[in-house]
């Protein structure tokens, strides 16, 4: 769509559009450079590195799910194999004193991901839809179980470790400190994101979208959907391998958890929660999910349950993910009718929040009773103290859930009406919804 508007615009505004386009990437680069100067603590740097790795991984996953319409339950295979090959590569380079500096090691991981995607992908991509999802799951189980059998390559349960500081030094960078690793990850994140964005603009990227939307018509036009899916799969494997190698560099170890179902599930969660419909979606999702998992695990012992419930809520109520939800408001913003919806949001927000708080209170109370029932009933979750044994807590939780649910249902209907009003006005003003 933006192509069309660019082509129709006058040459002067074409320059402006170009400036805006490159401006985004330059601004991102500047933010990445400046970030460690604002957040100086070691924990923040580690978190940023993890976020960067997660961004590459999620973007690579979105080549499959968002752009080609392939739901994969085994994308961590290529991430993990990239990580393992990177660790073996680092050991080999250090052992034989090859002239390869650490910043090039992610390429080893990427090529490993590409190689295995090229082998396993041909079989996997023969089917699309549900069958592809199940096949990806089967292949993932095959590789993950093999990793525990082939001990000398995958290191069994313990995994294989490497020392990233023993490689050839360029500009006297030894990559011992986290700040250097952060810049390495940031550099590769930017490169990979630009490359993957460029991929969506190529004819192949467009054919991927066509295969997602209407594979039959693609066949009529003269393309083979299987080949298009296969190529997309290879690219996704390549970038997943880069992410895996960066993770291996960051932790200086690769173990079978890299290949496992949990890793595959996490990237699916991150990508879908962020939103598969927009390029920026997986980036938002990766930032959100990584920071959430780092933050929530300190606050409550059952954070994974919250995570699962949140994912179900996104699938049910916001299939476009976070970015989809935000982008929905763009036409309203353009037409200036956003003000009509916001008050109803505020009203709906209160009972919804009450219901969520009630649910969390109920979950934490139950958890307290089943997991650590012999401890003091005055327990703490999310930094708030409450008495799990008192009937007031139980009554409060029940009241919050029930009253919150009924009020929330009423208020969300009002939101729906306000939304219809606002979009009608926006459409009358000539803003395409």
């Amino acid at each position: 769509m933006s192509d069309l508007s660019n082509a129709a615009a006058a040459p002067g505004s074409l320059g402006a559009a170009k400036f805006r386009f490159y401006g985004w990437w330059i601004a991102t680069a500047i933010v990445l450079v400046v970030l460690p100067y604002i957040f100086r603590s070691g924990g923040a740097l580690t978190a940023f590195s993890l976020v960067g790795i997660s961004i590459i991984f999620s973007l690579s996953y979105n080549i499959l799910l968002g752009q080609t319409g392939m739901l994969s339950f085994g994308h961590a295979v290529y991430y993990g194999l990239g990580g393992f090959l990177a660790v073996h590569g680092m050991n080999l380079i250090a052992g034989m004193k090859l002239p390869v500096p650490l910043p090039l090691v992610p390429l080893i991981g990427g090529l490993a991901g590409l190689f295995f995607a090229a082998i396993l992908g041909w079989v996997s991509t023969r089917r699309s839809g549900t069958a592809f999802a199940m096949i990806s799951l089967g292949v993932a189980e095959l590789v993950a179980s093999s990793a525990l059998i082939l001990r000398s390559f995958f290191g069994g349960e313990a995994g294989i470790s490497a020392n990233r500081t023993k490689l050839l030094r360029v500009f006297d960078l030894n990559f011992g400190s986290q700040i250097q690793i952060y810049y390495l990850v940031a550099f590769w994140t930017l490169i990979a994101a630009i490359a993957m964005y460029a991929l969506t603009r190529t004819p192949l990227g467009r054919m991927c979208n066509a295969v997602r939307d209407n594979p039959e018509r693609v066949q009529f036009v003269g393309y083979d959907p299987h080949v298009v899916r296969y190529l997309a799969f290879c690219f996704a494997g390549f970038f997943a391998g880069i992410a895996g190698a960066l993770a291996a560099i960051n932790f200086e170890i690769a173990n079978s958890a890299y290949l496992g179902a949990v890793q595959s599930g996490t990237v699916l969660f991150a990508t879908y929660i962020g939103g598969v419909g927009f390029f920026i979606g997986p980036i938002v999702g990766a930032v959100f999910v990584t920071l959430l998992s780092l933050g929530l695990s300190d606050l409550t012992s059952v954070w994974q349950l919250y995570f699962g419930i949140f994912f179900i809520a996104v699938v049910m109520f916001a299939p476009g993910g976070i970015t989809g939800l935000l982008m929905m408001h763009r036409p309203l913003l353009k037409a200036g009718t956003l003000g009509r919806v916001l008050p109803s949001y505020l009203i709906a927000f209160v009972p919804t929040l009450a219901m969520v708080a009630g649910l969390m209170l109920a979950i934490e109370t139950i958890v307290h009773y089943t997991v650590n029932s012999d401890e003091d009933p005055k327990t703490k979750a999310f930094g708030i103290q409450f008495d799990a044994s008192s009937p007031i807590t139980w009554a409060l939780a029940a009241a919050l859930i029930i009253v919150g649910f009924f009020l929330a249902r009423k208020t969300w209907t009002r939101v729906g009406r306000a939304w219809d009003d606002a979009t009608t006005v926006a459409r009358e003003k000539g803003v395409p919804a």
Partner: protein, 315 residues
């Protein structure tokens, strides 16, 4: 050798029938709603844990009767209030919904029953060897499991093929709109089928619980194999699921009992590889790779016959 073959065949058929108890529900749900229920193995796990809890309170036999309808009711509620609203967002959203559900159910089970295996025992009534064959005692409980799964299989077959309900369900599979026009509540049929399918998985859970390990990761272990069964059999094909269940049951059981490797197959002729990577492949026993046999089978079938054993061409 003969002993090994007889015992492994019995165990393999038993395992295959258990797989089919779940795969049948999964297949019927798939052909009806067009969505592969990722949480199906989670309902099997719920069945096992409900069975464990109820048998602790009032005994195993009431548990066998109570747990499956309970799980079936949960399944029906999931279809009505979870899947149906998601349906408008497409099949990917539906599959992801069941994926999230499987994740959440595993977490809930971990919170309530913990991560370690629970002590779910064979009922004393069936805790004796049924017969002795080549000096191996075959437990009566396993014969009971086999019996239950065969009875349910037969009951399902008769219901689907010979009764009016089965007729309506079959019609709703292919022509839901026509069935709706004829005055049947198709939505309710879908809900009931989902409920019955999950209840069947729960039956498998209750009877498999005491024989296998009842643990919070049992859904994660069995789920992928279940999906291999339905893909190998051909998505949506009930006879295909039956053949694939037995095939995978037998293959896996036989593989566990064979203690051979590439190195032992060549005997003294086997070259002694110094390279640890090659030696790993050379020395791995068939028993060790038994857990990944179903996935090998999957890849093999996909190369030879992408639509599965009895599957139709992709529409």
């Amino acid at each position: 050798m003969l002993e090994l073959i007889v015992i492994s065949t019995l165990n393999g058929v038993l395992y295959g029938m258990l797989l089919f108890l779940m795969a049948s529900g999964l297949t019927v749900i798939f052909s009806m709603l067009g969505v592969l229920n990722f949480a199906h193995a989670s309902f099997y796990m719920l069945g096992a844990f409900f069975g464990f809890q109820i048998s602790r309170w009032i005994g195993f036999w009431p548990a066998l009767l109570i747990a499956p309808p309970l799980v079936g009711a949960i399944g029906a509620a999931v279809e009505r209030y979870g899947l149906r609203p998601v349906h408008k967002n497409g099949h990917v959203a539906e599959l992801l919904f069941t994926f999230g559900l499987a994740f959440a159910i595993e977490e809930v089970v971990q919170i309530i029953w913990g991560k370690s295996p629970v002590d779910f025992r064979v009922p004393p009534l069936l805790d004796f060897p049924a017969f002795t064959i080549f000096s191996t005692n075959y437990p009566a409980y396993k014969m009971f499991m086999l019996l239950v799964s065969i009875v349910i299989f037969a009951g399902l077959l008769i219901t689907l093929k010979k009764t009016r309900i089965g007729l309506i369900v079959q019609a709703a599979l292919t022509h839901p709109h026509m069935v709706g026009h004829l005055g049947h509540n198709v939505g309710r049929i879908f809900m009931l089928v989902f409920g019955v399918g999950t209840a069947l998985a729960a039956v498998a859970g209750v009877i498999a619980g005491p024989a296998l390990v009842t643990q919070s990761n049992m859904a994660g272990l069995l789920g992928p194999i279940l999906f291999v069964v339905v893909v190998v059999g051909g998505l949506g094909s009930l006879p295909g699921a039956f053949i694939a269940s037995l095939l995978i049951g037998l293959v896996q059981t036989f593989a566990v009992s064979i203690d051979g490797s590439l190195a032992s197959a060549f005997g003294p002729l086997a070259p002694g590889y110094k390279n640890p990577f090659v030696a790993d492949i050379w020395n791995v026993t068939i028993a060790q790779i038994a857990p990944i046999m179903p996935y090998f089978l999957l890849v093999l079938i996909l190369i030879v016959r992408p639509m599965g054993l009895l599957g139709k061409r992709e529409s």
